[in-house]
């Protein structure tokens, strides 16, 4: 071992090792990063005056947090090996609960302080509804043993059904003005929805990528049987994933209410499929076990830039649908070939 040649060998090995580790850890993220940057650059080049304006930036920053939160919600369910088709229904149901409290229970002559208190109460209620909705999903998936796609297909109808029953199919309006003021407000120049989004991105990153729960969730999502045989409490891990999903959906619901100053049982139904698309683009494995918060964030920003940029070019909404689908298929294909290459490497 004292042979200097050996030392050299080891050094080479070390460098090689680092590269491989880098590819393993960040390979898929770099691809996304470059896609995001290029989409931004293309839009900036096409029409720098409009696209790089403060108004455009603000509008982008105001728009993607809702989809972003719903995508994070979808991500947790998908990483656990399932899917959550009920995210939008949960979001609306939570928002409706909050709105009902705000519209029906705040006394007409309440002071600003009392109103704020009621609003806080309604927010807590909404988050609680989200958690309970997620809990119900989780129990049906992991205790009763119904496939997640069916459970959430059912609860999607059920939660929307409850919301319809509560509202008799009408939208709830007449919320305190403070709601929309906060919704459209900024803090240190950052739009409020974006701040909320960043908070929950950090939360998700902690839970999924840094803490032991996230590791266990990913293992469970990859192979529940082997995880059970490794002493993981698969049932509770899975239920928690759906509870988190419900919680994130509830936050998205509140943002939707803040943005529109209203709540309705069938708001934002197009978000559902978009959330799945963005999650998959962001590198969440549709078969479970893998997902990175950073990937999801970049994917949602990319899609929003694309979508706002296309809006700037005055193309129809339908063209955006077309682009979304195309990008998704391209990402699927890119992943397919990327994975083939990786498996050849090893």
């Amino acid at each position: 071992m004292s042979n200097p040649l050996h030392v050299n060998e080891d050094k080479k090995q070390g460098r090689f090792n680092l590269n491989k580790d880098f590819i393993d850890k960040y390979g898929d993220l770099t691809l996304l990063f470059f896609i995001m940057i290029s989409v931004f650059a293309i839009m900036a080049i096409i029409n720098p005056n409009v696209f790089l304006s403060q108004g455009m930036m603000l509008s982008i920053a105001n728009q993607f947090p809702i989809l972003g939160l719903l995508t994070l919600a979808m991500m947790f369910a998908m990483v656990s090996g399932g899917i959550d088709l009920s995210v939008v229904s949960t979001a609306n149901l939570s928002a409706i609960m909050a709105s009902i409290i705000m519209v029906q229970y705040i006394p007409a002559d309440a002071s600003a302080g009392v109103t704020t208190l009621y609003i806080l109460l309604s927010i807590v209620c909404a988050l609680l509804v989200g958690c309970v909705a997620g809990l119900f999903n989780g129990i049906l998936v992991s205790v009763v043993g119904i496939p997640a796609i069916i459970v959430t297909l059912g609860t999607m109808q059920l939660y929307m059904g409850i919301a319809l029953v509560l509202t008799k199919g009408k939208s709830i309006v007449g919320l305190p003005t403070i709601v929309s003021e906060v919704g459209a407000g900024t803090l240190f120049g950052i739009p409020f929805p974006l701040i909320i989004f960043i908070m929950f991105v950090i939360f998700s990153y902690f839970v999924l990528n840094l803490r032991d729960y996230g590791l266990k969730l990913q293992m469970t999502g990859s192979n529940p049987t082997a995880s059970k045989f490794s002493g993981i409490n698969v049932t509770s891990i899975t239920i928690k994933a759906y509870v988190i999903s419900g919680l994130l959906a509830a936050v998205a619901g509140l943002l939707m209410t803040a943005a529109t100053n209203a709540a309705k049982a069938d708001f934002g139904t197009t978000y559902l499929l978009q959330a799945i698309l963005v999650a998959v683009m962001g590198g969440v494995n549709p078969y479970g076990g893998r997902g990175k918060v950073a990937g999801v964030v970049m994917a949602v920003i990319t899609m929003q830039i694309l979508s706002s940029g296309l809006g700037m070019l005055q193309v129809s909404n339908f063209f955006k649908d077309f682009m979304w689908g195309t990008v998704l298929i391209i990402v699927l294909l890119a992943n397919l070939f990327y994975n083939k290459k990786i498996s050849k490497l090893s």
């Binding site: 899917i83 069916i150 297909l153 999607m156 059904g161 499929l273 689908g325 699927l332």
Partner: protein
Amino acid sequence: MKRILKTNEFYITIVLVLLIFYIGSQNSTFFSINNWFDLIRSGIVPGIFVIGTLLVLISGGIDVSFPAIAAFSMYTTTSIITSLDFDVPVIFAFVIGALIGLFLGFINSIFIAFLKLPTLIVTLGTASIYSGFLLTFIDDGQITRLPEAMTNLSKTRIFEITTDYGTIGIPVVFLITVAIAVLGWFLLKYTMIGRSIYALGGDEVSAERMGISSVKIKVFVYCFVGTLAGIAGVIHTIMTRNSNASDLLGGELLIIAAVVLGGARITGGHGTIYGSLIALLLILIIQNSLILLGIPSYWQRFVIGALILIGTGLSAIQVKRSLEKRNPIMTE
């Protein structure tokens, strides 16, 4: 007999019969011909979708792009015929619609059968591509002027009767749904390709070893679904006498729910035409007739959601139980 008692179809039938008699006993309008003609009419297009979806689920996949395919073929077909500007027999519309559907289904199958990408995600993607492409590049408006042959067909009815409210009947296109249901039943029950779809959904590796080409079967399934969706699109135009693409979009999850409620499993290998159609009828009755019980229409979704969860939950528990009992080592 015991075997029948174990099936979802059996329970759904019982629930359906009970519901029919309950609603009927509460409100006699439910049994009126008018109401049933309405029900049948509302089931013509979903009935075709259900059969396509059933095939996909049996094969172990899932397809959410059929409404987009239907919308695409509906619009394109009417445009083509209108632009041809001469009288063509109505069969021509169905052939074009079917071909367009076949082509779009084939595109799905390229990703699913050859590249083996996950079916849900692929069809989500292609669904946005098809509907986005249609509405952007072809037109985003509606066609209100139908070609004459199609208008004529839309006026043709069977079982026409005259009541106090005027003449009612079932659109003749209902026969197409019936024909497709019979075709689907025959395909699944009496052809090797149909049984191969079940085999593929049951165990893909074993199917390959038996000499079933999973690629061929999947291509067939997705093309078949596409074709059915294409035909359904044309029927939809004929029935509503205009082409409005957004009418069809968004109904995919309810159709899948109906098929699952009817006994198909999302994991593949199970499901029958009878069960799917019965479950569809149940959902249609809930959608159309709950109101006859004095239950406001906004309860529909709640009831449908609860029904899906209870139905699939019961069969999940049943499967769990039978798994536990299997392969005992000791007798007593």
